[in-house]
Symmetry: C2
Subunit: 235 residues, 2 copies
Amino acid sequence: MPNTVHIRTPKRVQTVVGTLIPVTANPDAPVSETRSDKKERTRRAILDAALRLTEDTGLAALSLRQVAKEVGIVPTAFYRHFDSIDQLGLALVEESFVSLRAMIRDVRQGTPTLGQIVDRSVDVLAVHVREDRPHFGFIAREKSGGSAVVRVAVRREFGFFERELATDLARLPMDHWSSDDLQILSNLIVSAMITTSEEILRAEPRELPDIRHRARTQLLMVIVGALNWKSTPSG
Amino acid sequence: MPNTVHIRTPKRVQTVVGTLIPVTANPDAPVSETRSDKKERTRRAILDAALRLTEDTGLAALSLRQVAKEVGIVPTAFYRHFDSIDQLGLALVEESFVSLRAMIRDVRQGTPTLGQIVDRSVDVLAVHVREDRPHFGFIAREKSGGSAVVRVAVRREFGFFERELATDLARLPMDHWSSDDLQILSNLIVSAMITTSEEILRAEPRELPDIRHRARTQLLMVIVGALNWKSTPSG
DNA sequence: AGTTTCAGTGTACGCACGTTCACTGAAAGG
DNA sequence: CCTTTCAGTGAACGTGCGTACACTGAAACT
């Protein structure tokens, strides 16, 4: 029977359950909230669920249905908040980099000597990474992750971040440097920072002092190298 | 009818197709080869297919059925070669790092001055990454990829690689260094190398000179910094 | 020549997926 | 008070997945 035609028979009478218990994954008492408050809360729950569920496997292995189940909504309700998993991913990229920028702002709090800048930078990095683990983990994973649009977004943001750092570096006593060279230095520092973050993320607490020592040493090497660089033409 | 029992009815008579045309994804004429030769060729085809199919999405999004289709075998035949996609991934990690070690061996070909070491290292890296794109791309992706066992394997190998590099560095005129410090330096250099590789991988040919210039500069900064480091205590 | 091995076949299964659709009911708004 | 809006519902669909199983036929071995 090749010509089997399926006719959708929409049931007119439905079970009487409806939206009795909104299980939107929040233990707080939803005493009284506006409609958009509640929507925002569900959206937040979706973002958090996504961060949790991608922790082991990455965004590529995340399904809309998993997210819905975790949040406590029906799969189709997901579409009220995001068009696709990719769009959800972009939202996560955005808020992750907000967290990262907050960090760099933290470092800028008037630190006079080079040694202090280095120490403070590493300390701030360590604290932020531990405190906002989910977002830092997300960025680290999706930098080379499975979704093309998300990957591109992450790299774009890292590009911005790198340029911001370069302008910060320009304020150090290396005025004679070209902006190209500052960019190169910034790129190197960001590389080391990413590696350090990844190490912090998967380290046990007792390993942290070693990692911080290493990060400090590396940052110092790089800065000393940069300062002495022009004057020591190769070997 | 809840108790529906499905009884497997294995057909005794089967269509007469069998292994008439072994489409094992190889254009060469398979004039005459032993059984294990052929198996090896199929295995190779599976590995290549996996490298091709994961290029955009990573191993996490790779299905056994996709691989089988690409290779030209039936899904179940996959099991003759690998227990799971994860095992296939481990095989790819292994052969990828063979390629990486070949690279470091290439650098070691007697290069006297520091400047030459730097130039040669960057050149060799650029050439190898372009020539063995699939493997370098695979490592870069799966370093933070979706499969736990593969991720761990990649990081393990990077650990070895880093230690190898540290012993190489010990041969440079920095004998007074502790092995801990050499390890730290090595870690920093590998970080920069990974970033550079990723940039080379996604760069267009016309961007390569810039990337190489940057890599050279960074490597030089790091080495100069390392050499001058102890004598310039913070600042 | 007769037997064993084994890479590859084809069918069938149960399950999770993204997406469609018509529907509900409380909040928002006139 | 009556109407509109809209976050969330639940059933249904087609598809692709991993894995099971019994099977085949040529190569390898005795």
